[in-house]
């Protein structure tokens, strides 16, 4: 029973700290650092889904996070190649 509270509150803390870190963390003017910081709220949300026993949602979310990070990094590298002002 205590385990569930530990998962939930750790997840909530990760979502809040990670979101604030993504907005005003050190060195977030670099888009690659900002993308790396967005992984923290993703893992916090996974912990909240685990608390509610949403197995399929958890599985899908872990896979979707990987795929979306792939696409985001490809877009960042391409824009950097073109020399776009982001």
């Amino acid at each position: 029973m205590l385990d569930i509270y530990t998962w939930f509150y750790t997840g909530v803390a990760l979502v809040i700290i990670g979101s604030i870190g993504t907005v005003i963390g050190p060195g977030v003017n670099d888009p690659i650092i900002r993308t790396l910081n967005t992984e923290i709220p993703a893992i916090g949300l996974s912990l909240i889904l685990l608390t509610y026993n949403s197995t399929i949602a958890l599985l899908t979310y872990i896979a979707a996070t990987t795929i979306i990070s792939m696409i985001l990094l490809r877009a960042i590298v391409r824009l950097e190649e073109l020399g776009a002002e982001l």
Binding site: D3, T6, W7, T10, A13, L14, I17, G18, G21, G25, P26, G27, D30, I32, I33, L36, N37, E39, I40, I43, S46, L47, L50, T55, L58, L59, I62, A63, T65, T66, S69, M70, L73, R74, I76, V77, E80, E81, G83
Partner: protein, 98 residues
């Protein structure tokens, strides 16, 4: 009888690992250090899922997390190459002008 050893469970240890990973990812400035701390964070997530006894989900997470790490490393190396090339081009242009 409860002792301090009762606090050492998979859940508690994973929560500590998650918090350490979070602070590391936010505080360290270099991208390569961030990727290393992200691996610690993902280890904490897998530990938590194992503590919930969802071993099938833990298997999927264990497959997908290294893929994300490899993608991040490829992206960081590529973006570093592009920035170095651009700096060199800029220096070359300034040399011609001077």
């Amino acid at each position: 009888m409860s002792s301090i050893l009762d606090l050492i469970t998979i859940t508690n240890v994973s929560a500590v690992v998650l918090v350490i990973g979070t602070l590391g990812v936010i505080a360290l400035p270099k991208p390569i250090d961030k990727v290393i701390m992200l691996s610690i964070l993902q280890g904490g997530l897998i530990g938590t899922i194992v503590a919930a006894k969802y071993l099938d989900v833990a298997m999927a997470a264990a497959i997908f997390d290294p893929i994300a790490t490899v993608i991040f490393l490829i992206g960081i190396i590529k973006i570093d190459e592009i920035r170095k090339k651009k700096e060199k081009e800029k220096a070359g242009e300034e040399g011609i002008l001077a």
